[in-house]
Amino acid sequence: DAGVTQSPTHLIKTRGQHVTLRCSPISGHKSVSWYQQVLGQGPQFIFQYYEKEERGRGNFPDRFSARQFPNYSSELNVNALLLGDSALYLCASSLWWRDGEQFFGPGTRLTVL
């Protein structure tokens, strides 16, 4: 079975631009979470979605938004990119929103110049 997939793998943007990152969860998983991992730090929680509804939000500005589709895939959108948004963006899926175990995708490496 396929694991969590994310696209694109790498992305280079300039300040002020917009970016959309995509995630497909493991088949049968209904919850998707997004994390930002800056080099040398632990992942920081951004959003969690379950059954297309937002179930959790981290301390990120409104420039960050997300949504989940009927097939449980998800998009993370970031507007007005800043240099500090450069990071590895990780998507994780789980069976439901309070599931004990989250399975992480390979991540999208975003570089903002």
Partner: protein, 116 residues
């Protein structure tokens, strides 16, 4: 706000030796997770600890949870080079707004290097 602290942050050890990584957290939670991350890679789930006193073992790694002390440990027995990686603990808590909102808070990670 929940704080998760790991120590040590850097650990260099010899093959064959034993050591323990500690994970302390600041608010009540009965769910704690350990992950492994290899350089440039994503996170691999190692252990899910869902109750006080939970102990799980896989190979040379053993994790335990003491919810009263708000402490989890990851014990490494007879380390081998293949265990070299960054290890994260993570604790779940209510996100902004409380209610049913949920988030996972990670520690800063422990970079483990096992030398021959």
């Amino acid at each position: 706000e929940l704080k998760v602290e790991q120590n040590p942050l850097f650990l260099s050890m010899q093959e064959g030796k034993n050591y323990t990584i500690y994970c302390n957290y600041s608010t009540t939670s009965d769910r704690l997770y350990w992950y492994r991350q290899d350089p440039g890679k994503s996170l691999e789930s190692l252990f899910v600890l869902l109750s006080n006193g939970a102990v799980k073992q896989e190979g040379r790694l053993m994790a335990s949870l003491d919810t009263k002390a708000r402490l989890s440990t990851l014990h490494i027995t007879a380390a081998v080079h293949d265990l070299s990686a960054t290890y994260f603990c993570a604790v779940d808590s209510l996100a902004v707004g409380g209610g049913s909102n949920y988030k996972l808070t990670f520690g800063k990670g422990t970079l483990l290097t096992v030398n021959p």
